[in-house]
Symmetry: C2
Subunit: 148 residues, 2 copies
DNA sequence: ATTGAAAATGAGAAACATTCTCAAAAAGGT
DNA sequence: ACCTTTTTGAGAATGTTTCTCATTTTCAAT
């Protein structure tokens, strides 16, 4: 799938295509969840037992720089990563069950346009992040039920 | 100012009003910047040399829980804190000079309403965070100029 | 005001995520 | 295949935030 795009982007930015970088990108693309570095490392180790956590972090930073990966802070103390999608989208996290809902919101584009006009900004990154309780978790609002 | 509100909120949630909690709240209210825990600790120490960093963190967590303080991730590896304001607002950070611009965006309310209707969510928190380059920093886009 | 139980604090240790260091290994142009 | 440069692995180091626990403080009831 993105094999070629990866190779292209890396070479264009003067970086080499390594087994580890291919692997990190693959794991990210195969998962539609938002993985944290450690989970990603675990999954990568299943296919390359020697890949190190440092390499995972380095690769994620690189892939982010070349625009193939996005980093999100979903209310936890660590980052989550996701292969860049076709169209922009934003996130809601349920504080109780941890479910993440992705959604689009064209209004955000308006907001960006207004900011550009009003402050002369050049915007490179947008994060809209909401949290609260999903429909299933509202009757309770706290306690110990986990994901699906 | 918020002395009474602090006392009220704390007692209502079964917590005590201590010298340290008053101090943390004061420092936050006197600053319109978004302080990180260490800066806040430094400023608090100027008035109570013994206040510990652990207490600052504990107090910030508590004040956040009772709705007096907001925590933001402004693209750095540590959190920033702010006394809750009258009306909601969002943030832009300049990646070069670090300037933070606050702005309102009524469109966000629309988005929330749509999400509530569509997914039955109960939303307790909203963060809209943009980054890029402010007007002053656009001619350069990288290098070493600092704040104002 | 005094007391006593429960909550909060200070100091440093611990936990956690992330970055750094550097010798050894791998990539890619020639 | 070779050589130069980049990348990697492993663990040490860093930075932020939380935990531990003995001591102190708060506050409701005396």
């Amino acid at each position: 799938m993105g094999e070629e795009r990866l190779s292209k982007k890396l070479h264009a930015s003067g970086h080499r295509l390594t087994r580890q970088r291919r692997l990190v990108m693959e794991v990210l693309e195969e998962s539609d969840e938002h993985l944290d570095a450690e989970t990603l490392h675990d999954r990568a180790k299943a296919r390359d037992a020697n890949i190190s956590l440092a390499t995972v972090y380095r690769t994620l930073a690189l892939l982010k720089n070349v625009g193939l990966v996005e980093e999100h802070r979903l209310g936890e103390d660590h980052a989550h990563f996701e292969a860049v999608q076709e169209d922009p989208h934003y996130h809601f996290t349920c504080l109780r069950c941890g479910r993440v809902i992705e959604f689009d919101a064209p209004q955000v584009m308006e907001v960006m346009q207004e900011l550009r006009e009003r402050y002369g900004l050049c915007i490179t990154d947008v994060h809209l992040f909401l949290s609260g309780y999903c429909a299933r978790c509202q009757p309770f609002e706290q306690g110990g039920q986990d994901e699906d």
